[in-house]
């Protein structure tokens, strides 16, 4: 990590904290956002010369607050002369930082501010795309072009989406508040869903030729870490962090030397990131200890990821436990995708015959390449090679990304050569 990377890391960690407090004290999220953006530019200019300040948050707070006040004055009816009298230099003087540290809110108040910011960005009155975009911009401090690239939309479209979302927050008065206890479960679920969506986009990119969008994966983990740190009693937040860490541990092994995807069954498990697995397992046991025996959907998914992460090989996997976990998951979230994954585990536990009938009993996946690929796998194992080839052919045509098309095409070629 070079000096600029270090700067960016500090800005990404401290930025949302500065913004959260600023948004409350200024009372306007959009003004606070602009002010922090300007302060960030000032920091990127000054810090390489002066070094990262001892208290970067205080530094950013002083500069951003000044920029915000500047803007509010510009907007208010004050005369230009008055405004000029208030203008300071761009970098804070040491005594100003001292004052800011002294005036800084206690940690508990900062925590509330951060929660307010998070719940505002992920308010269900905002569209799903808007929530994801706002979270990446406001909470993960990603620049607009990077968010646009991540979701393969033109920069102008993404910028407009953000402007519209902020306008709705201001006009419809989406509150800058932590939801009440009765609303909290539903609202928290909406927040976690945003992070999960970002992670999903990272692991199954809807476009581009990367197997994993490592940049988005890192942002999803950063957000999950933030949530787990802010809400240590919310076990689903801890479980989500565990799940993302355990999944990210496999990222390196998901791609071969030629950039082609490698499925879990074929991955070189020595390439898995042990540190991430250990951290994921630790968060998971923390979640289990706090949840009092009631596992939510993220905890079950984390258990699934953990079962894979701790297996020595695909063959050595505890398929009975995995089928059981999918049964549990299927009982709280009805989803054909869960049923599909369960059927794959049934194939491994009970053999291809049982797997095939489990797959055939699922409705609603006629257009899923994964379903056809799973059918092909069971058929191939049953010796029905030509039926398997037919299913794989369908899977190739339905595959949503080039990466997956390549993977399935490779399998289809292998099976065709078996047919001779």
């Amino acid at each position: 990590m070079d000096a600029t990377d270090a700067l960016v890391e500090v800005l990404k960690d401290e930025g949302p904290r500065v913004l959260a407090t600023l948004a409350r004290t200024i009372g306007d999220l959009a003004v606070a956002e602009d002010a922090l953006s300007e302060a960030t530019i000032t920091a990127l200019d000054a810090w390489p010369r002066t070094g990262i300040p001892d208290n970067p948050r205080a530094w950013l707070t002083v500069v951003a607050r000044r920029k915000a006040l500047d803007q509010l004055r510009r907007e208010s009816a004050r005369t230009a002369k008055e405004t000029a009298a208030f203008r300071w230099g761009t970098e804070p003087a040491p005594d100003q930082i001292e004052d800011a540290i002294e005036a800084m809110e206690p940690e508990s108040s900062l925590r509330d501010d951060m929660l307010r910011l998070i719940f505002t960005c992920c308010h269900p009155a905002l569209g799903r795309e808007a929530r994801v975009a706002l979270s990446l911009r406001t909470l993960a401090r990603l620049e607009v072009p990077a968010i646009a690239r991540a979701f393969l939309v033109p920069e102008a479209t993404m910028a407009k989406r953000l402007v519209r979302a902020r306008a709705k927050i201001a006009t419809a008065r989406v509150p800058y508040a932590v939801p009440s206890d009765t609303e909290l479960p539903g609202r928290l679920a909406a927040v976690l869903a945003v992070v999960y969506l970002i992670a999903t986009e990272a692991h199954a990119p809807t476009g581009g030729d990367a197997v994993t969008r490592v940049d988005l994966e890192a942002e999803a983990i950063r957000l999950a870490r933030l949530l787990a740190g802010l809400m240590p009693d919310e076990t689903e937040a801890l479980s989500l962090l565990a799940l993302l860490l355990l999944t990210s541990a496999r990222t390196r092994a998901r791609t071969d030397a030629d950039g082609n995807p490698v499925t879990l069954a074929d991955q070189d498990r020595t390439r898995w990131n042990r540190t991430a697995i250990d951290e994921g397992l630790a968060w998971l046991s923390e979640a289990v200890a706090r949840s009092g025996g009631v596992a939510g959907p993220y905890q079950i998914q984390a258990h699934l990821a953990a079962a894979h992460s701790t297996a020595l090989s695909w063959q050595d996997t505890d398929w009975d436990r995995i089928v059981g976990l999918y049964d549990l998951l299927g009982s709280i979230t009805v989803s054909p995708v869960v049923a599909l994954n369960r059927a794959v585990a049934v194939t491994e536990r009970d053999g291809p015959e049982a797997g095939l009938s489990a797959l055939k009993s699922i409705d609603g996946l006629e257009y899923s390449h994964l379903w056809h690929a799973a059918l092909a796998d069971s058929l191939r194992r049953l010796g029905r090679t030509s039926d398997a080839a037919g299913e794989l052919h369908t899977a190739v045509t339905l595959a949503p990304s080039e990466v997956e098309q390549r993977l399935l095409q490779g399998r289809l070629q292998a099976i065709r050569s078996e047919l001779g």
């Binding site: 419809a172 008065r173 989406v174 509150p175």
Partner: protein, 119 residues
Amino acid sequence: MALYVALCYYDRDKYWTSSPEAEHSPEYMEFARRATEAGVMRGGEALHPVTMSTTITVSGGEGGDVLLVDGPYAEAKEVLGGYFLLETADLDEAIAWAVQIPAAWQGKIELRPIAPVHA
């Protein structure tokens, strides 16, 4: 404080001849009483069915030809049946009230902030 209009929409087929609010059902009266007591209700009316509507267009600018059409403007599946004006601190509070309006389960409610008109 912010002012919102809670627009009550109903399925067009069901609403064609009778409107729940037009009947001034006890459920609506009860909601209006509670919201008034809480100082949240700033107004509200029930609308007659869309079969009673007349849609007006003036073509060619102000003072132009007046075109009248029997019925509502949009051929939507859902029709507006009534509205409430709610004044609350923020959107969450407005939502908390809107979910108590029978239209929320009989049909749908669109909550829209009101842009104040400065004379």
